[in-house]
Structure formats: structure tokens, C-alpha cells
């Protein structure tokens, strides 16, 4: 694979961050915190790691597939899909408005290219991704299936049903990632319901586990490349990706406060002043 063009990818990340805060500001609702924290991951996946076709096909045979289980971070996904050519970036302005294909949480119902399953009710995405990965094996398709979850989402029991299943059945074309930002709506994850040693848990469930910094583009790309090298050896792969919720906008970082709050006009100006890019929708 070609070497990543880090300058280009960093500019894209900044542009996507601008899109996120503008989208959430535009409709005065949505989830900026987790979206900003996962921006490098989305850029790495769609602009370097995955083989995918913006001329979207639901079955995605011969392509890598990506499922977002923590659907509330839809702004970063929509912006990334638009910037990758799945649909016109102008459509980002319709986010969360009536008659939009950009629903509050991702959905297939309005046929937005790039989305393969609805998500939002937490805990379901890893099961879906594991099923899609097994379908790929049945079809003799050697591409990967990626899945992103939140860390608070690890409190859902279904995640662990899927964890057990994927390891038992050697679903080793599955590469999952947890956005490990330590925050959830009601406060720090360790205070709400502590995950304790998450790495040890996933290892105990039979997964290949690695950790990397999700807000360092180079680390994310190296981490995901390494995940592909770890895959297809009998175990599914889990990336524990440390991120800062709200990353890139200083006053949104380091707290759960911006999980699901939209910036006002002044806050938008202050955020955009920190994010210089030139291709706004």
C-alpha cells in the first residue's frame, strides 16, 4: 500500500472537525465530543486503510466493511463519507433536519450511501459485524470487517455475547476498535460503572488485543495496519484506542460535558478559530 500522505490526511481531519461542529451547531443537537475524538480513526480508515467504493453497494463484496456501533457519533461518520465521495458535502447541512438522509443516528432507511445497518441503541454493532464477517468467509471474500464501539458501550451485555461468539468461532477477519475516552453521558466511565481491566477482559475472551493513541494519526494508521497483520490467524482483533473526547477543540476536551451538547454561536466561532481549513460545505 502507498505511504500515507500525512499532510493531506491531517488537513482532512481538520476539515472533518469543522464539519462536525458546524453540523451540530446547525441543528443545535447531536454529539460533538465522541465525533471529534474519533476523527483520526475515521480519516485513517476511509483514506488509507480500507478498500472501499463510494459507489455504494450494500453487500460490499470484495470490499472492506465498516460498522459503527456507537451510532451517536454520526457527525464524524457523515462528514467522512461525504469527504470520501459517498454523497455531496452540501448534504451535511441537512443533518438532523426533517426529510434528511442524515438521521440523528445512522440508518439505512433513507438509503444514505455508506450505511449498512442502523445503530444508536448501543451494544448491537459487534454482533452485526461478526455476522457480516462470517458471511464474507462463506462467500470466499478475503476482505476485512471493521467495527467501532464506545467504551461506555462495553456496559451492554450483548457486547460480551458477541465477544465470546467471535472468539469461539475464530472470526479472525473481524477488527474491532473501542473508543477508549473514559467518558459517558453521566460522567467518567470509572464512576458510572467501572470497566476495570478492559484489556485483560478482551484477552480473557480470546481476542488479540493491542492499544494505540487514537488522536495521533501516525499511531492510528500504524495500529490499524498492525491489526490487519494480527488478523486471519485464528482470533478476532481488538484495538483499545485511547482518545480525548472533544479532541481538537480545547474547551470541549477532557470532560463528558460535550458528549451530546451543541455549541452556541460564540462557541462555534471559538471552535472554528482552532480548526483552520478551507473547504466548508
Amino acid at each position: 500500500m502507498a505511504q500515507p500522505d500525512f499532510d493531506k490526511l491531517k488537513k482532512l481531519a481538520t476539515q472533518i472537525r469543522r464539519d462536525i461542529v458546524r453540523m451540530v451547531h446547525g441543528c443545535q443537537s447531536g454529539h460533538p465530543g465522541g465525533s471529534l475524538g474519533c476523527t483520526e480513526y475515521f480519516v485513517a480508515l476511509y483514506f488509507h486503510i480500507m478498500k472501499h467504493d463510494p459507489k455504494f453497494n450494500m453487500d460490499g463484496k470484495g470490499e472492506d466493511l465498516f460498522f459503527v456501533s456507537n451510532g451517536h457519533i454520526s457527525p464524524v461518520w457523515y462528514s467522512t463519507l461525504a469527504r470520501a465521495g459517498y454523497f455531496d458535502v452540501k448534504e451535511l447541512a441537512t443533518f438532523r433536519f426533517l426529510n434528511s438522509r442524515l438521521q440523528g443516528h445512522p440508518a439505512t432507511h433513507e438509503k444514505l450511501p455508506g450505511i449498512r445497518i442502523a445503530s444508536g441503541s448501543l451494544g448491537q454493532g459487534l454482533s452485526v459485524a461478526a455476522g457480516a464477517a462470517q458471511a464474507k468467509k462463506l462467500n470466499g471474500d478475503d476482505r476485512f470487517v471493521f467495527c467501532l464501539m464506545g467504551d461506555g458501550e462495553q456496559q451492554e451485555g450483548q457486547v460480551w455475547e458477541a465477544a465470546m461468539y467471535a472468539a469461539h468461532n475464530k472470526v479472525d477477519n473481524l477488527i474491532a476498535t473501542i473508543d477508549y475516552n473514559g467518558q459517558q453521558i453521566d460522567g467518567p466511565v470509572k464512576d458510572v460503572l467501572d470497566l476495570k481491566d478492559l484489556k485483560a477482559k478482551w484477552i480473557a475472551f480470546g481476542w488479540e488485543v493491542q492499544e494505540f493513541n487514537g488522536n495521533d494519526l501516525k499511531e492510528v494508521i500504524n495500529g490499524l495496519d498492525h491489526a490487519k497483520a494480527l488478523a486471519k490467524k485464528g482470533k478476532p482483533v481488538m484495538n483499545l484506542m485511547k482518545t480525548d473526547m472533544g479532541s481538537g477543540v480545547d474547551f470541549m476536551m477532557g470532560s463528558h460535558k460535550w458528549h451530546g451538547v451543541a455549541p452556541n454561536d460564540d462557541e462555534l466561532s471559538r471552535a472554528l478559530a482552532q480548526l483552520e481549513a478551507s473547504e466548508d460545505y
Binding site: F67, I117, A130, G131, Q134, A135, Y165
Partner: protein, 318 residues
């Protein structure tokens, strides 16, 4: 006039197992998932002959529904199998988001539904599943009446596109529809009559056949319609029949709230108001016991249907 006799006695779940095995032979994209109830769901033959397309999920129904939704991406046609309670109530949100709202071609196949599960008791005797499933937009809901129709419905689902719920049961039950055509969404007029229309599905169709014989002896002419598909509902069949008979009785092994009776009543009250009586479980949980004893205790026997018909006829005459 057509009369029905039992040509055999078999469980409806075996009809599912036979249909699934047939589909396995017909279509390489058909896959099956089961949550630790392979024998109970009669999925053994499929598992034996198509092991690479059979997925044992363990006792983890939520994951099973998600896996099935994921397998549709790539063109698979998944049939999930577990008890009706665990196929619906336990996984309602998974079905709602990952299957129905996402428009996935998953067939949720549910055994041991209703009172006729028998001795296991109310924890397992789900009587609310049809209501839950029919409320989901775009969900097809089918409750076949015997072994032959369950097999036919299973095979029909192999070429049906979209989310579907297929409900069947545990007890050995008369087989009486062998060779009858089955089309999803098309009601089957089994007996033509002029005084009253009985709409029934599932095990209650046989109860209604027995009731019809008793009513015929009393000189009451019954039209019996097997409304195996609750959604999409065959509205024309309902209206055409009740236009002729002027009153209706519904029969189902389900709560009176949310099932077949509700669906028929909604159609009649909107388009053609007529007296209607409902033979169903009257807002209560079941209990342990023999299937036929339970049907009697909870008001689902042929005699209960006869009484409901006599009552609705009195109301019709005013």
C-alpha cells in the same frame, strides 16, 4: 362443502425443520442460526447436511439476531431458531433496530409459542409475541396452523424478501392442510358459509374446525377463514366474507390484546362495522399443564368458539 379430517398428527415445529432442510437443498444462500435449541427447533437435519451454513450461537439470543442481520450483508438469508419468548420479548430492541428498521432479510422462526407449550409454564408460554412483531413497520407475521402449512410457510419465506416472524409450536397436532396452496398474505377460505365468519390461525384453526362441525349440527352455517398471515393482512378477504355473513369470531392462541382479533377488529371497525367476538387469552399469564387442558381452562376450546358464535349471532340479530 369441504370438510377437513386429520390425515396425520405431527408438531408444527417439525414442519419448520422439514421446510428449512428443503430450503437448504434449494438455495445455497440460506443459513440457519440457533441458540442452543437445535433439537427442540427440529433443525438437526439442516445442521447435519449443511454444517458450514449452520451457526450455533449458544444461549445468547441478542447476539444471534445481530449476527443474522450482519449475514444478510453479503446476500445470506438467515433463519434464526429459538423459543418464541426468546425470539421476541428478549430481543425486541435488536429486532427493531438491526432487523426491521434496517430492512434486513432475516427470518425469525419461533417455536413453543402459546399455552400449548404446556408443562413448562408461563415463563415460556409467550402470548404477546404476535402483538410485538406486528407493531414493527415492514415486519411480515405468519402463524401457520399445522405441520404441512408450517413447512409450506417456511419454504415460502425462502423467496420472500424482508424481515419476517414465523410462529409455531410444540404439541403434536392434527395435520389437515396437506396439498393446500399457501401464499404469504393470502387468507385461506377453508369452509364457505353464510351466518358467521370465523377467523383463526395457528393451533386454533383445528379448534375452529371442530367447532364448525358442532355448529353445523345446530344448523349454523360457518365460513372458516385461516388467517395465517397477520401482517400483511388480507383485508379484502375479511371484508368480502363479513359483507356476506354480517358478523365475526376470531380465534387465536395469544393475548386478546395485540393479536389477530385486534387486527380483524381494526379492519371491520374502519371499513365495515359488524359484531365481533374474540376467542383469546383474556389478559392473563398461563400456567403449567397439558396443552388441551390449558386450552380449555383459558377459554380456547371448540366449545368456547361455539359459545362465541352463538353470542355474536344474537348481537347480529339485535
Amino acid at each position: 362443502m369441504t370438510k377437513f379430517t386429520a390425515t396425520d398428527k405431527k408438531d408444527t415445529r417439525s414442519g419448520f425443520g422439514a421446510g428449512l432442510h428443503e430450503l437448504g437443498k434449494q438455495n445455497p444462500n440460506v443459513v440457519a442460526l440457533c441458540a442452543d435449541l437445535t433439537g427442540s427447533l427440529k433443525m438437526d437435519a439442516f445442521k447435519k447436511d449443511f454444517p458450514e451454513r449452520f451457526f450455533q450461537t449458544g444461549i445468547a439470543e441478542a447476539n444471534m439476531i445481530g449476527l443474522a442481520a450482519g449475514m444478510t450483508i453479503g446476500g445470506k438469508i438467515p433463519f434464526t431458531g429459538t423459543f418464541a419468548n426468546f425470539s421476541t420479548g428478549r430481543v425486541y430492541d435488536q429486532i427493531r433496530q438491526s432487523v426491521a428498521y434496517s430492512g434486513k432479510n432475516v427470518k425469525i422462526c419461533a417455536s413453543h409459542a402459546g399455552l400449548t407449550l404446556g408443562e413448562d409454564g408461563a415463563t415460556h408460554q409467550i402470548l404477546e409475541d404476535v402483538g410485538m412483531m406486528k407493531m414493527l413497520p415492514d415486519m411480515t407475521v405468519i402463524v401457520p396452523c399445522d405441520y404441512a402449512q408450517t413447512k409450506a410457510a417456511t419454504i415460502a419465506l425462502g423467496s420472500h424478501v424482508g424481515p419476517a416472524y414465523l410462529r409455531f409450536g410444540r404439541p403434536v397436532w392434527p395435520v389437515f392442510t396437506e396439498g393446500r396452496p399457501f401464499t404469504i398474505g393470502k387468507a385461506d377460505v377453508m369452509i364457505e358459509g353464510k351466518d358467521v365468519t370465523i377467523f383463526a390461525n395457528g393451533h386454533m384453526v383445528w379448534q375452529a374446525i371442530e367447532a364448525e362441525a358442532k355448529l353445523a349440527e345446530k344448523g349454523i352455517s360457518v365460513e372458516l377463514i385461516n388467517l395465517h398471515t397477520i401482517k400483511p393482512l388480507d383485508v379484502d378477504a375479511i371484508l368480502n366474507s363479513v359483507k356476506k355473513t354480517g358478523c365475526a369470531v376470531t380465534c387465536e392462541e395469544h393475548q386478546i390484546n395485540g393479536g389477530l382479533g385486534d387486527s380483524v377488529a381494526q379492519v371491520l371497525s374502519r371499513f365495515q362495522p359488524a359484531p365481533i367476538e374474540m376467542v383469546a387469552v383474556n389478559d392473563s399469564f398461563g400456567e403449567s399443564g397439558k396443552p388441551t387442558d390449558l386450552l380449555k381452562k383459558y377459554g380456547l376450546s371448540p366449545d368456547n368458539i361455539v359459545a362465541a358464535v352463538e353470542k355474536v349471532l344474537k348481537r347480529k340479530k339485535g
